[in-house]
């Protein structure tokens, strides 16, 4: 039943810059099963965007894939031809981007853009437009036939993001990547968008890689979660287990800082002091050491490996504290 759809295997990605190689992703490994929703959480600059563009192979020219593989249905996407890659984009793998205000072409109508992305289909123009209208009404846009003739600026941000979801799901992809789809929107719209996403996901049974720094949304929507920090996976596993029993200090701090989690009225909102380390000049040992309140001498000495904590749920964390626990 659980068939692996996407497998990121020991992926390391660098950006070549004027001040040396930026190690944007280091030894990332996780997998996504068919029809499963996996969340990726992390601060800005943790490598979420690099990860997405690596999966779609839409990376900046200065990107170097140093090692590892991105396997989709068993094929390594990093070494197939550009033409093969292009045939996957928008058909097997779709994406919803972060900023709905910038995501559509401003001088073409929504109908035209929804028509154009069906370029692989052999349907007639009328059939394609019908399909586009059908998708628009599926995401709750009233009067879709008339709306197709309008330009992006004639829609609100929330509507534009719903259109983006309609466009991404139109081809019934096996994998949908949602890159912070609700970050740019109001909290009330966020719920709406998530609901549409979830109902369509269930209808189509597509897998979703959901990137967000909103822990509440992740907890609500996802089956499993991957916590990233400074280009590496620090913890991953079942969503309830991670939120209920986090095994990495970073995950713990992240949960503490989530506004939804703060019960009492605080004078000062909790933060994680310090900054993300410089990816061009990584410190020795654990990457979170400098911001961690439980750091030990061992953390400076060597990098903690991502270690399995619970075999059944697949809970893994990269922290020496867990080694101590297990040893004792």
């Amino acid at each position: 039943m659980t068939e692996v759809l996407l497998e990121i295997d020991n992926l390391s990605v660098d950006y070549e810059t004027g001040r040396g190689d930026l190690k944007a992703l280091r030894n990332i490994s996780f997998s996504l099963n068919k029809g499963e929703i996996v969340g990726i959480v992390g601060e800005s600059g943790c490598g979420k965007s690099t990860l997405i563009s690596s999966i779609l192979r839409l990376t900046a020219p200065n990107t170097r894939f140093r090692e590892g593989e991105v396997r989709f249905k068993g094929r390594n996407l990093l070494n197939i031809s550009e033409q093969d890659m292009r045939s996957l984009r928008g058909s097997d793998i779709s994406i919803v981007f972060q900023d709905p205000m910038q995501t559509h072409n401003p001088v073409l109508t929504i109908g035209r853009q929804m028509l154009d992305i069906q370029h692989r289909s052999s349907a007639t123009k009328a059939e394609k437009l019908h399909r586009a209208a059908e998708m628009l009404s599926a995401v709750g846009i009233p009067d879709p036939q008339a709306r197709l003739k309008q330009f992006p600026h004639e829609f609100s941000g929330g509507m534009r993001q719903r259109i983006a979801i309609a466009m991404a799901l139109m081809s019934e992809p096996d994998l949908l990547i949602a890159d912070e789809p609700t970050t740019a929107l109001d909290a009330t719209l966020e719920v709406q968008i998530i609901e549409h996403l979830r109902s369509l996901q269930q209808d189509m049974n597509c897998a979703v890689l959901f990137i967000s720094h909103h822990l509440g949304v992740i907890a609500e929507l996802c089956d499993r979660v991957v916590v990233m920090y400074a280009g590496a996976v620090v913890e991953s596993g079942d969503v309830r287990e991670i939120f209920g029993n986090p095994k990495h200090p970073y995950t713990r701090r992240l949960i503490d800082c989530d506004p939804g989690h703060i019960k009492e009225r605080a004078r000062v909102l909790p933060t994680i002091p310090g900054e993300v380390p410089d990816l061009a000049n990584l410190p020795k040992g654990c990457i979170f050491r400098e911001r961690c309140d439980q750091a030990m001498p061992r953390c400076t000495a060597s990098v903690p490996p991502l270690q399995t904590i619970a075999e059944i749920t697949g809970h893994r964390a990269a922290c020496w504290l867990n080694h101590e626990e297990m040893a004792s």
Binding site: L58, R86, G90, T103, N105, P106, V107, I117, H119, A164
Partner: protein, 312 residues
Amino acid sequence: MLSFTIQRIGLAVLILFVAVTAMFLMIRAVPGDPVQIMLGPRATPELQALLTAELGLDQPIWKQLAIFYGNLLQGDLGIDVFSGRAVTDIVFQQLPHTLWLILASIVWSAGLGIVIGAYAAAHPNTIIDRIAAAISVSFVAVPAFVLALLSLLIFAVHLQWFPAIGAGDGFWGALDHLVLPAFAIGLSWVGYIARLVRASMLEVMGEHHIRTARAFGLSERRIVMVYALRLAILPVVTVIGVGMGFLLSAAVFAEIVFARPGLGKLVIDSITTRNYPVVMGAVLVSTGLFAASTAIADLLNAWLDPRARSAR
């Protein structure tokens, strides 16, 4: 959109008014009495006085201006002092020649410039891009009159591929006569538009919606030619509209070098003979052409860009 159109036409009328008034005052500041030139050195003072009165030149200058505008509003641009023909007839006889020349120059230079610019932007920092840049810059650097003389010498005199002078008869004859002058005027525009389109294109290619188009697997060709170019073309329309002024002055050179009839040649000829009414008529029409083209460019831009359309 309607109020914007009205506003834009109002601006065009204002431009026209300022330019025509300035020209009216300037031509009277130029030394040389038109009456003396017309009648010759041996005319009697009585005859001179009679003609001066007939032309209205004995009136104060503000009154002359008022009379001029009064007549203009009735579509009367006065009488050519030499031939006695109506100036409107003369000007509108010459206008099509200039219009065709400018139109031909814009069409070929914008067409080629957009292709070069889009191609360069699609392959940034490659050898193709650098060659395109070098060619574009050297095109911009060549003055139209030098190019006119050179092309006349090479293609008309030596190679005899194209006719050297005149405007030609019939469609094909006219087209044949248009090639060299349009080439001379348009070449620097090819370079200019190519650079403009490249810059504008590179900016658009970095925008998020292009990434979206790529993420849906649209072909690079389609992304460049439709998704990016539709946006990148907008500044070109504005530049061509404003550039009409430069094209008009370049047309003057081309008309003289190739001895083509046209507004430019008409203005130069009538300035040398102090033929005030004809100068004023020709200047009025070319200013009108300029004001109209900038207005059309702005309206076209608003029409091409749906965001601007609904904002107004």
